[in-house]
């Protein structure tokens, strides 16, 4: 809002000094130019200081949330966070060969799945992968239940042979570095991993560092024990020394002891481990264990799905949002019966256009009347436009529900005057008709007000001049008046279109199943299906559409011309 009077005072044309007279000086002796620019800087600084609190507030409470939505629409770290080792091992596997992955992959999967099942995160991953491949959700749920059988057997065997392993204290003494050298990098890796798995920081203080010596000889045992220890401290808030670790640790120990070289170890621990080495327990191949839980695991389908969707960022949600999907063989359309979103986008567009169109049709005569009546009458009629504008959206929506129902006011009146048979009442709600009528009513003031303000500026003498030059009423209106009112129509239409394309409440209540918008789908994915990534992708697409439209609005009308009331 630059003010001409104000400008002159500080930034008016700087007097041009004659070249040989030296710089013009301000009252305090500094050159005028510098003094002026300093004043200008100070003024800018003050203005920014006044704006800063609000700007920061809006950035934090609004812009960052929108940004987080955009980010979430491409974010896909759940696979890599839940199954880090599997993803690592799978990298070298090629689905093209048609063979199932190697034993290493199955082993990594066993460890990953065990941990995520303990943390109850495997179902979440299952539902995520289920968006891409049907059946993954139940596969993961089932596997989470069956996975600890093998490890449980291993633990029993170990504790039968060496009863000391039934005691948490023994494990702790074995694994903890104590006075010896600790492996801190292993500890911080595990902390990072548990933190990513649980969406939180796993940085609680704990009285445990894995012993470097053990970690060198028995890497998997040390890793799984550390995972358990960190998990126990952060999630259950218990002390590792007092508790028995997961069965998985026993399994890892039994397996590793079969091949481990214990010659470097000494003391009590070495004795304990040698004792445990004698445990008679045959570990079947992990692929067999998985096959026992579910045959699906020995096909390439789940592995292919995990591999395809293991990258940290994905376009998958956007593809889903336009009814496509990412498959191991590239991009393709969703199966026919799942293709609903493009239709929904199309319907949103169609209904928004219908609403905008009916707003133009109904708004134009009213705006014209208001602009051409004497001010006192126009003000009175204006109340009829402004009252709906000020009335709560919920009130208007409930009013339309009352009006349109099959037992509603309109049908009752029609039956009462005998236009409609009582048995054949009109179906006007829970379909597109209901949404269009109710939203036209709700958005009509947004069309009338800009039209009215433009029409007010068209001098009525133009029409009279056209008529006196021999134009018919129609020609005068169409060739003279209408072109001048087009900016009002444009402004109102874009405004109504932008507002209607993102509407949620009214379609939800009067739209039924056929009269809903894309926004209802977003709400559905947020609150019911919990497919937040897809909701974010749909929201991002809608946001882009609205911003483009808004940019057009700014071009045609200008942000500063937004008027209220």
């Amino acid at each position: 809002m630059s003010n001409a009077k104000d400008d002159d005072a500080v930034a008016g044309p700087v007097p041009v000094a004659p070249v040989d007279a030296g710089p013009v000086l301000a009252a305090d002796g500094t050159p005028l130019k510098r003094s002026l620019s300093r004043a200008l800087r100070r003024q800018k600084g003050r203005a920014l200081l006044l704006i800063a609190p609000l700007l920061i507030f809006v950035l934090v409470t609004f812009i960052i949330p929108i940004g987080s939505m955009l980010f979430r629409s491409v974010e896909n770290d759940i696979v890599a966070n839940t199954l880090p080792y599997t993803v690592q091992e799978l990298a070298s596997w090629d689905a093209e060969t048609g063979e199932i992955p190697s034993e290493d992959v199955f082993k990594a999967m066993y460890d990953d799945l065990f941990l995520s099942a303990e943390a109850k995160r495997h179902t979440r991953l299952g539902s995520r992968l289920n968006y891409e491949q049907t059946g993954m959700s139940s596969l993961f749920r089932q596997s989470g239940r069956g996975i600890d059988d093998l490890a449980g057997d291993a633990e029993d065997a170990l504790e039968d042979a060496v009863p000391a392993f039934g005691d948490g204290e023994t494990w702790y003494a074995l694994m903890n570095a104590g006075a010896g050298e600790g492996n801190t990098s292993l500890l911080s890796n595990v902390r990072g991993r548990i933190g990513r798995l649980n969406d939180g920081l796993a940085s609680a203080d704990m009285d445990f560092v894995p012993s470097a010596e053990i970690a060198a000889v028995l890497p998997r045992t040390a890793r799984t024990y550390t995972e358990w220890a960190v998990y126990t401290v952060t999630e259950d808030e218990r002390v590792p020394a007092d508790n028995d670790p997961w069965e998985l640790v026993s399994l890892a120990l039994v397996e590793e002891l079969k091949t481990a070289d214990l010659s470097g170890l000494s003391g009590d621990q070495a004795a304990l481990l040698r004792q445990a080495q004698a445990v008679e327990f045959d570990i079947p191949p992990y692929s067999e264990t998985f096959a026992e839980i579910d045959d699906e695991w020995v096909t390439i389908i789940p592995w292919e799905t995990i591999q395809t969707h293991s990258s940290k960022y994905t376009a998958g949600y956007f593809l889903n949002a336009i009814d496509a999907q990412k498959t191991p063989d590239g991009y393709e359309w969703q199966p026919e019966e799942k293709q609903i979103l493009l239709t929904l986008f199309g319907r949103t567009l169609f209904m928004s256009l219908m609403i905008t169109g009916s707003c133009i049709l109904l708004g134009y005569p009213v705006a014209w009347l208001l602009a051409n009546l004497p001010a006192s009458k126009a003000n009175l009629l204006m109340i009829l436009v402004l009252l709906p504008f000020w009335t709560s959206l919920l009130v208007r929506t409930s009013a339309w529900k009352v009006m349109l129902q099959s037992q509603g006011v309109i049908n009752d009146v029609l039956v009462w005057i005998g236009l409609v048979d009582d048995a054949n009442r009109f179906v006007m709600i829970n379909n597109q008709f209901g949404t269009i009528v109710a939203m036209t009513h709700i958005l009509l003031p947004f069309m009338i007000l800009p039209m009215y303000s433009v029409m007010q500026t068209v001098p009525p003498t133009y029409l009279r001049a056209a008529k006196s030059l021999g134009a018919t009423n129609w020609t005068a209106f169409w060739r003279v008046y209408f072109p001048q009112s087009v900016p009002g129509i444009g402004a109102g239409s874009i405004l109504v279109f932008i507002l209607s394309i993102g509407y949620y409440i009214t379609p939800e209540i009067v739209g039924g199943t056929t009269g809903v918008f894309i926004s209802n789908r977003i709400a559905y994915h947020i609150s019911s299906s919990l497919n937040w990534g897809l909701a974010a992708a749909l929201g991002s697409i809608l946001l882009v559409v609205v911003l483009v439209l808004y940019w057009c609005y700014d071009r045609i009308v200008g942000i500063d011309n937004v008027k209220l009331g």
Binding site: D7, V10, I51, V395, A399, I498, L543
Partner: protein
């Protein structure tokens, strides 16, 4: 624009036909709001007129839905929540918004276009998108507040909803206050400074009284935005923060009782009140500006 005496018959027909069309459109605009008022006095639990009501039989009418509204715990709690959330959100958006609007109306503001676009954006972005974004961000924020600062869950819920509503109201404050400031004569502040007033005194004693109408109408817009808002509170709030519109929304979806209509009628009363206040303010502002400009 009366009808001239020389108008031909078709002109007369068109003149009256046009009036009729406009009248019908006005009826379309206003009927839904009028219809709910008598229905809210329905003695039955129907959403429609009963034969008794049409016969104007006093037995067909009752205040029971109003009574339900004023005695039912659910409704009273949601009213209370609305009356907690909306005013606080309004105070935040009005105080920060007015300050920023004053800053924005200075003559040299760097990146003015960008700043304005950012501040107006909560109004442009469709509510469903704002709500989606806020849903992700505010749940993380809430968890953080609860875990790190050990705040009460209910309190955090209010904080989240209030912050979200405050930011939604800001564009309205910015727009109305900057619009009022366009007509503000800056030599008044300089005159005040010249006579020894410090900037704060100048602001409260000189600038504020003149832009007050804009501030109040911006505040009213912000209030009604928060008071009438459902989508964001549905996504960000939890059951403890159920507001009046939320309660109405669930009521409408499940179609439980015509108490909604009683509430709606009361809200129409509120909006008439607001409309009057805004109109009076607009007139006052025009009058004041007329004095300033002359």
């Amino acid at each position: 624009m009366g009808l001239p005496i020389y108008a031909t018959t078709p002109q007369r027909i068109w003149y009256y036909a046009f009036r009729v069309i406009c009248a019908l459109i006005f009826i379309f605009l206003i009927t839904p709001i009028l219809v709910i008022m008598p229905l809210s006095f329905n003695a039955e639990n129907f959403f429609t007129f009963t034969p008794e009501m049409l016969r104007l039989d006093p037995d067909g009418y009752s205040l029971k839905h109003y009574q339900d509204f004023f005695t039912n715990n659910e409704w009273q709690r949601s009213l209370k929540n609305s009356l907690i959330i909306a005013p606080i959100a309004t105070i935040i958006s009005v105080s920060l918004g007015t300050l920023a609007a004053v800053g924005l109306s200075q003559s040299h503001v760097p990146f003015k276009g960008t700043i304005m676009a950012i501040l107006i954006s909560p109004m442009i972005v469709p509510l469903i998108i704002s709500a989606t974004g806020m849903f992700f961000f505010y749940s993380a924020l809430g968890n953080w507040l609860e875990a790190t600062l050990g705040l009460d869950k209910d309190f955090v819920g209010y904080v989240k909803v209030i912050l979200a509503h405050a930011v939604l109201g800001i564009p309205f404050v910015i727009i109305t206050v900057t619009a009022t400031l366009v007509g503000f004569d800056n030599s008044l502040t300089r005159a005040a400074a010249n006579m020894g007033a410090d900037p704060i005194t100048t602001f409260f004693r000189v600038q504020m009284p003149l832009i007050l109408p804009g501030v109040i109408s911006g505040g009213l817009f912000a209030f009604i935005t928060s008071f009438d808002e459902v989508v964001v509170v549905l996504f960000v709030g939890s059951a403890g923060q159920k507001t009046l519109p939320w309660q109405m929304f669930t009521g409408l979806r499940e179609q439980i009782s015509p108490t909604i209509l009683a509430v709606a009628t009361l809200l129409v009363g509120v909006s008439i009140l607001l409309l009057t206040v805004v109109e009076l303010l607009r007139r006052r502002s025009e009058r004041l500006r007329g004095i300033v400009e002359s």
